[in-house]
């Protein structure tokens, strides 16, 4: 929150500082933590998110309780949601059981990091394209390796040749289907990155108006507050959409007949 009153203040720099990655963690009361070169702010948030999840599912999750209560109940609700609404409908019970841990990790990890981005003190790691690219690469390898193991190399290649299509048309359709193998994970990557980045830029832009125009723009504070509420919904929605589309794409590879 450096010196809006100084002559060198640039609104664009101020906005980008709140969404871009850096090696500095800004804390309340103007305190800074300089991070070492090998870990950036978003990297640190990723590690923190992973630590939070590990603690939640090892310490607070009561494995032995017959009737889940409290936090165990909430966590089980999330796991059952991913299982019954996302994984089993697309992968079936047999394959779904194998892949359920991956999709639960996707859902809870993205959700945790998205929510952390809405809490002051933390940053949004999911608004970093490198992070979303990492998740999309996992989906890509799930699709390719899952397809190769399930159908074998020849069967996997046959997936790109839709059945009942004349051979001359196949020469056009097969490359188009093959391009789809790459476009789907890339679209996943961009969707999550853009959705999380855009919300923060809009909030920062509205707050920037107050910094620029001073007390006259104060009523506009309602808008960032409203958008922050919307961002909480977006955090859940984007975690759901990423997990859902990953399961859908994997399901299309594993069960092309459906």
């Amino acid at each position: 929150m450096s010196a809006p009153e100084s002559g060198s203040f640039q609104l664009s720099d101020y906005i980008m500082h709140h969404v871009a990655n850096s090696n500095e963690w800004r804390l309340p009361f103007n305190m800074h933590v300089s991070l070492p070169e090998y870990v950036s702010l978003h990297g640190l948030m990723t590690l923190l998110g992973a630590a939070i999840l590990i603690i939640l599912f090892t310490v607070f999750y009561k494995h032995n309780s017959r009737v889940p209560t409290g936090l165990t109940n909430v966590l089980e609700l999330g796991v059952l949601f991913v299982r019954d609404q996302i994984v089993y409908p697309f992968l079936g019970e047999k394959d779904g059981r194998k892949f359920l841990p991956v999709f639960c990790t996707f859902f809870f990890f993205i959700l945790t990091l998205n929510i952390m981005g809405n809490i002051p003190l933390f940053a949004t790691a999911t608004a970093n394209i490198n992070f979303t690219a990492g998740l999309a690469i996992i989906t890509f390898f799930l699709m390719t390796l899952g397809g190769l193991f399930k159908h074998g190399p020849v069967g996997f290649l046959k997936l790109f040749a839709p059945s009942g299509v004349p051979v001359p048309v196949l020469f056009i359709l097969a490359p188009i289907e093959f391009i789809g193998l790459f476009t789907k994970p890339i679209a996943l990557m961009i969707r999550l990155f853009v959705a999380m980045l855009a919300g923060h830029i809009v909030i920062a832009a509205f707050l920037g108006l107050i910094l620029t125009f001073g007390i006259f723009a104060l009523p506009i504070i309602i808008l960032p507050v409203a958008i922050s509420g919307l961002e909480v919904g977006v955090a859940f929605l984007q975690a759901y959409i990423f997990t859902f589309l990953s399961a859908l794409y994997l399901g299309q590879i594993l069960h092309p007949e459906h």
Binding site: P89, I179, F182, I186, L245
Partner: protein, 77 residues
């Protein structure tokens, strides 16, 4: 979960990613064509081919989504 227990309208959500998928497909194909033109100095020939392939991918993806949404089995779910 049996197929009869599948949440209704789940397949409709497949259309969710069409915008992003088509944008990425067009960008990838056109970008590959542009790169080829720059590498071999062939004017705009490959860029143009990339544009048409990109449009082809978009039309094919759209066709698949429409076929899927019009599938009678899907409607009865």
């Amino acid at each position: 979960m049996t197929s009869s227990q599948k949440p209704k309208g789940l397949k409709d959500l497949e259309a969710l990613n069409f915008g992003y998928t088509s944008g990425v497909a067009f960008f990838l194909c056109t970008g590959a064509g542009y790169w080829a033109d720059q590498k071999w100095g062939t004017g705009f020939r490959y860029t143009l081919i990339g544009v048409f392939v990109g449009i082809g991918v978009i039309v094919f993806e759209l066709w698949k989504i429409i076929q899927n949404l019009n599938d009678p089995k899907h409607k009865n779910k």
